[in-house]
Symmetry: C7
């Protein structure tokens, strides 16, 4: 099992079709595309200045939307995961 | 439903006509153009150093003006939203 | 009405003649030119680390000098405004 | 009158002759040239994290040496001033 | 023996086959590849602002995944180690 | 007299011969060359977050070694000085 | 004698043979090579926000490994030293 450190979480990525409607890159668009995934493990929390930990806002099993370029891909036990910081999670899908 | 994390909010963008009056780009203008939208969901608040949360200043239903290049576009349930941090909200229209 | 957030203020810009005396750009001058305006709305204050707000130093009606390249231009109700952070206000004209 | 905000001060610049002795630019010299001026107004002080103000170290009337590239030039009432942060003041001439 | 300082840890790197399946570099992939290793020594902890130390989350003997480009390679007693900060450890393999 | 502000000190530079032994610039050397000088005036101290001052570690008369590229050269009363921050002092020669 | 300031230490560098085995620079290696040295003097400690000093973790006589590109070379009394911050010390060799 992968146990993320601090404010990191492990995500099982949900594959998305990457076809854009027009196929044209709009250079003046500064928006980044998000991606969806399922949280499979959460760290022990963000370390405060006084040495205590703040528990994360997301939990195991949460369906989350996160910034596409965040995190590190990890291959473990034949499956692909993504380890990102909770701060890169934009929203939970409920 | 999209539940934003921390100090993030979900905005339903109000479409604006993008015709500039003169059609000439003024290169010495460093001003960025803002956009308008309606807040449809707010996060649990900004995390303080001591682990507490500060409630956001904007509320669901607020009409807000925000920086054009802020945030991440999210497509959810057939509608387009924008997830931005409250700090990128310039003003509430009252 | 525009209600700015946090430490932001809304300014009604005072138009200035942009004729320079010599018409020559001095490339070794790193000084930026300021502009003048009238404060028409102030935010609820700067957020402190403990979650409290510090009231702004400028008030509605103040005539202020601010950095030319600061802020975001906003068109509202047929008039042009500028939303800047109080930190970009250099001085109040008394 | 110009009333600077926060940790800013208003300076009346003392003109200096800009003739260099050799007329040769030494490219490996990373030193910046300072300038002299007289403080004509001081702000209410630097804002501390707890919301209190720390009074400035320089006072009205002080002759100060400051970094040449600091601050913003302001024309007011037919005279030229410079608004800089106290942090850009290197020393007081006594 | 190598005794790392502060929040640093000493890692014995686990060699990995570096053959990519397709052999093609995908230029739009911003993900960094992680590596695996075994912790052989941990520092005395992260120094807090008040001068106390926060003990590290990883322990000697832990199998960890860390960012490929983190740290400094050290040759000691005929063996190669890597000294990294605990913050560069992504997850512990359990 | 020059009275430096905050954590700044005024140094009378000790001239050094600038002949390198080989005359060859080694491009992979990232080391910066230090210089020596005598402290002739010290500021009132570094300002802490709570508004108090921490007295400087160096004193008037100290012979110090400092980073060559630090500070601002000041000409005063026919003599050349250097105003640097105490943080740019590497060591005191005893 | 050289008395380093704050969190700085003075190191007597241990010369190392600079022959690489293959003589080929691997451009995709982002690792920096460390060096070894002996601590001959330590500063009074790192200054905390409240004005107190935290004693350094390394002591006079320690054999340390440090980042190759850290610090400033100082020639004193006919011998060459390196002044670095304790933070650039990777590990103590015991």
């Amino acid at each position: 099992m992968l146990k993320p450190l601090g404010d990191r979480i492990v995500i099982e990525v949900v594959e998305q079709e990457e076809t854009t409607k027009s196929g044209i890159v709009l250079p003046d668009s500064a928006k980044e595309k998000p991606q969806e995934g399922k949280v499979v493990a959460v760290g022990t929390g963000r370390l405060k200045d006084n040495g205590e930990k703040v528990a994360l806002e997301v939990s195991e099993g949460d369906q989350v939307i996160y910034s596409k370029f965040a995190g590190t891909e990890v291959s473990y036990d034949g499956k692909d995961y993504l380890i990102i910081r909770e701060n890169d999670v934009l929203a939970v899908v409920q």
